[in-house]
Assembly symmetry: C2
Homo-oligomer: 471 residues x 2
């Protein structure tokens, strides 16, 4: 829970020592606080040929109230910003050695349709990266490769992944770099996602690729929302909510306005009650492994229904497979994977999860990359990814999205008990050189649960500080 190295290197004495020894210097990440402005500072705008998303970006910049500066590559921006009545200027590189002043770098690559047109990306990041401040944000916008008209365009758009992942590893200083592919016709549905990636809420999300699809199935009677309380009047079920990441999820959803129902096992009844009491939320105690649990949960939610379901409950029972008991295998698969399937079936069949709803499941880097000693856990968490991918098309007609988050190394009671060397390796092997906090997972889930995230479905977003580990 406590990363004493992070604290040490950010003390005056520790900082000097670490510099002289050439050790990694993790940045204290800027995280969202309700009492501080979420968006401030300068955004530099860059663009490739025929950028198609500048209008959407102008709306975003206006909405978050930041000031923009145009890089040479985005000459069109100045006229557009003037037309929209936005404060804007021209990008001037920081003087050598002076600290970066920019808060974010946004590049519109949507019009690039051939690999020979990628140069403006180099020009923009070459000129601006040094001017990006600590905990700055890099977002590249493109078109979903698989929806491109020609192989050449698909290739050029797919190439952006290699750039963004490299920038994330190169930038350091708490800077994140992410790639957002916005489908044709989805330009108006990107704001919630772009806000998330610009905000300190995405402090530990880097190197990710997110697609936004045009979604014609948002129910016409969908309530409007307020950016300050986007989950107001939404009911959210969170499993495994008594402690740790689950408690953080409940807390963030409640802060965004949701009426939270926390669920946990009977043995965690007291902790769950205490957590929910603080959040003015209600508690349900069920063992989700029990065959009758899905029907009982459905019955408990029946009267008012639910808008958001977060499948966070999970267990580990680590052993090499040669030493793993049948019970350890079965228990992990059942709780982490099959129980999610049974609960969703009960909530969907009864119409208890309402149209326009949100399902978010917690997967894991282990489910992506595999992990020794975790054949059961990794199998269950890879299955969760399969659930997301397979259910998304089925749920589209009802306007329900289903996504997963895959946490990397998160500072919890569980990781605090790891042996020192394994804990330190897990903490440092990512672009932030530190573990994440439960709130980082929770904020990512809140974005996916957002009413403005209707175009984001069937996706797996890692909350890992761009961990080196992957598949």
């Amino acid at each position: 829970m406590n990363d004493s190295y992070l604290n040490f290197v950010n003390s005056p004495f520790g900082g000097g020592l670490v510099r002289s020894l050439g050790l990694p210097k993790p940045e204290v990440l800027r995280r969202y606080r309700a009492d501080r402005p979420e968006f401030d500072g300068l955004i530099a705008i860059g663009a490739g040929r025929e950028p198609r998303l500048l209008d959407a970006l102008a709306s975003l910049v206006a909405s978050v109230g930041m000031t923009s500066v145009a890089h040479d590559s985005a000459a069109l921006w100045v006229a557009l910003a003037n037309r929209r009545g936005l404060m804007t200027g021209r990008f001037e590189p920081a003087e050598a050695g002076s600290p970066g002043k920019l808060a974010a770098l946004l590049f519109d690559a949507s019009g690039i349709d051939d690999s020979s047109q990628l140069e403006p990306l180099h020009g923009f990041f070459h000129d601006t990266l040094r001017s990006l401040g600590k905990c700055g944000r890099i977002v590249v916008l493109g078109r979903p490769p698989e929806a491109c008209a020609s192989p050449r365009q698909w290739t050029a758009q797919r190439a952006l992944e290699g750039l963004v992942r490299s920038l994330g590893k190169e930038a350091r200083r708490g800077i994140t770099a992410n790639l957002v592919y916005i489908g044709q016709g989805a330009e108006g549905g990107a704001e919630a996602t772009l806000r998330f990636f610009l905000s300190p809420r995405s402090a530990y999300v880097s190197g990710q690729v997110v697609r936004i699809a045009a979604n014609g199935t948002i129910p016409h009677n969908a309530p409007a929302f307020d950016w300050r309380q986007p989950l107001a009047a939404r009911r959210a079920l969170v499993t495994g909510a008594a402690r740790g990441i689950g408690a953080a999820i409940a807390s963030v959803l409640a802060a965004e306005g949701a009426q939270v129902i926390g669920l946990d096992v009977p043995s965690a009844r007291d902790a769950l009650a205490a957590t929910m009491r603080q959040l003015n939320s209600s508690a349900l105690t069920f063992d989700i492994a029990a065959p009758e649990a899905p029907a009982q949960i459905a019955a408990a939610l029946d009267e008012l229904g639910v808008d958001i379901v977060v499948h966070n409950a999970g267990i580990t029972k680590d052993k090499t497979i040669a030493k793993m008991s049948d019970a350890a295998w079965q228990g992990v698969i059942d709780i982490n994977l099959s129980a999610q399937e049974r609960i969703d079936d009960a909530l969907l069949a009864g119409g208890i999860l309402r149209d326009g709803g949100r399902i978010v499941a917690v997967s894991s880097i282990s489910g992506i990359a595999g992990n020794p000693g975790q054949t059961n856990y990794a199998t269950s968490k890879a299955g969760v990814i399969g659930r997301i991918e397979s259910m998304a098309p089925h749920l589209r007609a009802r306007g329900i999205t289903i996504n997963a988050v895959a946490p990397g190394f998160i500072e919890t009671q569980m990781t605090a008990m790891l042996p020192f060397a394994i804990r330190e390796a897990g903490r440092r092997m990512n672009s932030m050189s530190q573990g994440g906090q439960p709130v980082d997972v929770a904020q990512t889930i809140a974005w996916l649960a957002h009413p403005g995230s209707a175009g984001v479905t069937g996706q797996v977003v890692r909350v890992c500080g761009q961990s080196l580990i992957g598949a």
Copy 2:
């Protein structure tokens, strides 16, 4: 080129020292040699409920001439093997402490259609993994998730990835673990792929997922092939063939019977000529960056056409993006990515690449995961992945496949020049605790170029010893 740690720990003195210090002990990998049997030893067969691929496995076992033993989970195997006239027995666990005697573990998971049915996988690997010998092979067979009839089946099949990747990380001792998804109707097209994953040819390929599609478009006049010389009468163009990985590719394709045409830049003319002379192959010298090169290459190949194109030529010009010149960006993108596009266009437009042909491009782990200091290289190599994904559907009607290999840390002159600490980290951060050899990349390309690989297209296969690094 020379991994002295690997040699040291496999010496009598070094082995003891490494054991007592608890250091990683890389295995000397068993690689293919024409003068040794490619397939020998016992295969243990396991299965989940209603396995649909046992017939295909029986054909494979008969074809490679190995002996099988049936695990309890695969009771059906014994009757099937008897019917097919195969030698078979029942699996008996090795005595504790005695070395593993099995050469391979094969599990047919194709009939599993719900997460609650995954237990036989645990039972099989729990019982058999300790009996698997050094450099043994694990192959799990399933159905492509995205083609499954129900979300439950899709989920269960997708879960296999987490298991296989964990087994690869757990097994060590030079053992590989891979997952092959065989589509409905593609059962007869799996042999070339299953042979590759059982063979010492796949020594450095682990943690990979490969799909085999039913491919109705194999030209009816496709020549038959001989498993000992599968590329006989095929003409293969290999770019960057003078040295290193390219020379190894040329050499392996020639050994498999292909008539190789090696291409390299004019400055490498002498090295190319020497390499090609040894292989009884012909040489072409062109600078592929030149605008006229595609037409010249097409003209040079025109008379006889070509069956296999291997895009191996590539360069690096590493710098952080703030220090990277425009020329360094453009040169790398152009040679590693755009030149491939131009050459393929010329060969496809002129019908010079024949129907039923094979394109294999060399991508990189950097293109998957990004790499600091390699924004240009990673962008180009991610673009190569886009090329594969976008071209595959276009080429299907002509029976042409297009795939990529993504090498991890391969022992070459380039990696030999890395600083010690970076070289050692790259070498050891994978399930084999060592770098791969150029021949490992070449053998993987030979499998993709194989006439029996018609159902494998649009895929990226890593040759990385299951590197920890990924996306």
